[in-house]
Each structure stands twice: as structure tokens, then as C-alpha cells.
Amino acid sequence: MTALSVSLGRRTLARPGLLFGAGFLLLLTLLALAAPWLAPHDPNEQDLLNVLLPPLWATGGSLDYPLGTDALGQCVLSRLLYGARVVVIIMAIAPLGAALIGCLLALLGGYFGGWLDWLVERFVDLWLSFPAVLLALILMVALSPGVQNVILAIVFVDWARFCRVLRAEVLLLRRRSYVAASRIGGAGALGIIWRDILPGLLPTLIVLMAMEFSIAVVAESVLSFAGMSAAPQVPTWGGMIADGMGSLYSSPYPLLLPVFCMILTVLAATFLGQGLREAVDVRLLERAGAA
């Protein structure tokens, strides 16, 4: 056990992708938390005398606005910092919610089988056959704008991804001899699910959650790019990108800076997901050991 955890720790450290991903997302979280202290301006404060200022390093940049201003004279740095809050909140909560619902339905269908399983499978089929972006957008029209509704929309769309994989896993685990032993020993269905099945699902669940980080970030950015995410006064990176498109010819910075942040964050989340997957996935481990 200790040998395994030591080697798990070493495997984690040996992955630069995982370290970069975790490190960057930690930094992003700290920046988002400290946004009120770090931001030089209020993110919605408009300085109409100083619109489309370039960043500090370009000619004409000023220390007042380190990353310049957008078409409304709003401080790009402040908006990026406050926008990071939305990203971090979504990344922290949406995967949890999707995992919870997906896992619950997977256990219900996979363990009890019968018509319940049939129904769960059909719904998963249905959900995966409809463009996720579209479902989330339609949902955001029905719900009103707001970060909590964005989370709701992402959970409502992405539970199926979890359910599909986990249900297959439950079907396998259910047939294991230790589950039969528990059943013979007189354990109830809930006891078996809690003590025998759920721990077996954990590695897959962690992998799926890790992959969901980047999916959730992208989903939020698509929603805010389309103008259907947080309330209008809350700055989001997707919203900044959409606004930046409008002033592309006058100044590319209000567009390029949030795009740059977005790409870095998505890459960090993806690297974190892939790294965790390689570190946790027992099957990959066995393959590496055999080679």
C-alpha cells in the first residue's frame, strides 16, 4: 500500500503536463480569489477618454491600464481577473454536479437492471445524440442568465457522459465474486453499492471528472461568447472575446488577451485531466508494467 502510494506520488511528479496543469489552475484560483485586491480598476468602470489603449509593453501603453482597455475603456486586466472567478467556480462545481447525477443514474440502472436500466440507457443515447452546445443554449434561454444557471445547464447536459461510462463499469463490478460474497453474507443493495461498487468506480470517476474540467470551461466560454452565460454586469472571458471581435481592426489586444488566457486554461485543464488519467488508470498502469 505504501509502496503503491509512493509510486503514485513519483508518477505524479514525473509528469510535467500534470504539474503544469495543476500549477496553472492553482495560480488561476488564487488570482481569482484575490481579484478585488489585484485588479487596478472596477471591471465595469468605463473610461471613455481612454478607449482601446494598448498594453504596457506596446507603444502608447500606460501603467494605469497594464493590459490596456477595451472599446468601452474598461480595464482589460481587471476584467480578466474577475472573469477568472467565473471560470474557477464553473470548474469547481459543474463537474461535481454532473458526476453526482451521472453516477446516481449509472448505479440505479447498472445495479438494478430491468426496465430502469433500459430507460437510463435510452436517455443517455438521446442526450449524446443531440449537440451539447445546443441543449445548453436552449436551456439558458429558459433559465435566466446567471452563473448558477450556467452550472445547472452544464450539469443537465454533461451527466450523460458520466452515466454511459460508469454504467458499463457497474455492470462489470456487479458480477465480481466479492459482490456475490457480500450478497450471500446478507448485505442489502444499498450496503453493497456503498461498500463494494462505489470504491471500485472511484478511479474511473476521477478520470471522468478530470476530463470534465476542460469540457466545463469550454462550455461556459461558448455560452458566454454567445451572450447567454452570467448576468450582463459580470465579466466573462467568452464575453470579452465576443466584444473584442467587434474592435478587431482598431486594436487586437482586447480580443487576443482573453483568447490567450482561455487557451492556456483549457490546455492546463486538459493536461491535468490527461495526467490524472495516466496516474490513476490501473489498466494503463498494467500495460506500462508489462511493456
Binding site: 449524446l128 443531440f130 443554449l137 469550454v218 454567445a226
Partner: protein, 355 residues
Amino acid sequence: MSATVQPLAIASGALIRAASLSWLALRQALWRIPMLLVITLVTFLILRGVPIDPVNMLMPPNASAQEIAELSHQLGLDRPVLVQYLMWLRGALSGDFGISIQTGQPVLPMVLQALPMTLQILFFGLLSGLAMGLGSGMLAFRARGSVLEPAIMSINGVMMAIPDYLWAIALIVTLGVGLQWLPFIGPIDPGLQVPNITGFLLLDCLLQGDLVAFGSALAHLFLPSLTLGLCIATPIARVLHSSLIEVYQEDYLQAARLRGLDENTLLVRHALRNAALPTISLIGVQASVVIGGTLLIETIFGLPGIGALMIRALGSFDLQTIQLLALTYAITVQLVNMLSDFTLRTLNPRLRIAP
């Protein structure tokens, strides 16, 4: 058993197998209908939650309470939700999908007019995605053992993480605004006029014999298709690469190599056909993602397809349009799925056996 009975038994066996096979295909196709129905029902129920009153939007501000009540009754909005859905369904079956509150026109012609543009992007996107994905997957495999293989695959991994709309912006900034190589706004140069014959812009240009317009339309389609293609190419390259590795473990390839075939023939004529199978099922599985991708791509590049129509409808609470477009997207996904199923069954005889 006499000698004459046996061929008969074989023939009837084959007949039964053929019948059960076509029954299988038919059942798979028929199964898509209830799925489409449930999708329309789910959309309908979600859209009932819209926090605005559709009647208020249709009536002038000074309408009396009685007028409002009359219109609600006329639209069936005072009935239970399920009855309202059945009313929508009855209309839909007779081709009446309601009226858009944006334009006051029937929804169906609006959607049908926009659909060809989306199909064009989808077609060229899939084509370029397949070409780029198969190309880079084969290149990475052909360079196995050298530094090129991990290099291609890690660049591929990074590219896969970047969402479609950011690709669109990146291409616009570099190739469109920066280098000014390609146009990136609208379907065709504003000065050119092409009459609407089939609805497919490229086809209409050719039918008119207008090569200048055709070139312009093609150039305008290049960046949107490339964007969509990039999003499809990256997973294809990865899947093809790993399935090529698997296929090369099989004996028949070793046998072919012993017969003296060179590596390129081996790869293209013998391995690719089998390795392409997971790639094609990937396209089927990814169909909903790819088709969802056209939504933002159309909006960003200013192309008048159903994605741009959808974004506008969502912004102005145009419920009837949203409802029909959701169905259109669902049907498109199912069609791509059917196409990939059909291709798989054609390429892989093992799938033709009915279970």
C-alpha cells in the same frame, strides 16, 4: 436427408438471413423516430420555462385583457402542456411548424432556406477533417520510432484541446486580418449576385456558369470548413494512429510483407481499410459534436446557415423557430449516424451478420 433438399435448405437459410438483416437495418432506422419525438418533447418542455409570455410579444402593448385571453385560447396556451405539445405535433405532421415572432413568416421555409449553407460547411468540414486527420495519423504512424511520431501526436493533443470557436478566431486573426489571404465575412463577395436555384450557393454558381462567383464562394467557405475540419481531424488522427498500431499486429500484414510488398502499399492498400473502421465509427459518435460546432462557426463567419438563425432565434425568444431548428439538428445528427453505420457495414463484412 436427400440430395435435393439440401440446396433448398441453404437457399432458404440465406433468404432468412437476408430478411433478418434488412429487418435489423429497418429496426435501427425506425428506432430513430421515437428518439426524435422525445427530443422534440424535451425541447418543448424546456422552452415552456422561458421567463417571457409569448402572447405579450405577439400583441400590441395596448391590447385588452380579453384580446390577450382570446389569443391565448387560439394558440392553445390555456391548455395543459402535454396537450399543447400534441397540438404542435399535429401541426408539425402536416408541415405547419408555426410562425416566427421575429419575421411574422412561417418557420419552415426560413429553416429550409438556411439549411443548405450549413450542409455545405458540414460537407467541406468533414471532407477537410478526414483528409487532414487521415493524413497526419498516417504520417505519424509511418514515422514511428523516430522523433516525428511523438512530436506529431503531442501537437495533435494540444490542438485537440482548443475549442472550435477559438480556432475560428485564430484563423481569422492570422489568415484573414493578418496576412489577408482569405475572406472571412459572409458567404460571397458583397458585389456578386447569384440567383437562388437549388439553395446550395456553390451549386447555383456552377449552374449559372459564373466562375468568378464560384471562386469567391469557395474562398469564403475555406476558413469555416478549415475550422470545422481541424476539430474533426485531431481525434481522427489519434484514433487512426492507435488502430494502425493494432492492425499491424495482425498476421495478414506480416504475410503481405513477406510477399515482398513495400511499406507504402502495405499501409494504404492493406492496413488502412481495416484501421479506418474505428475512425468511421468515431465520426458517427462525434456527429453531434461536429454539427454543434457549425453553430458558432456560422455566427463568427457571418454565414446565413441554421446556426446563425438559431443564435438569432435564441436571442429574441423565437420559440417556434428554436423548436424546429432543434428538430433539424437532431435529424441531421441521426442522418450522419445512419451514414456512418451504413459505411461501416459496407466496409466490414463481420458487421453484416444479424445477431
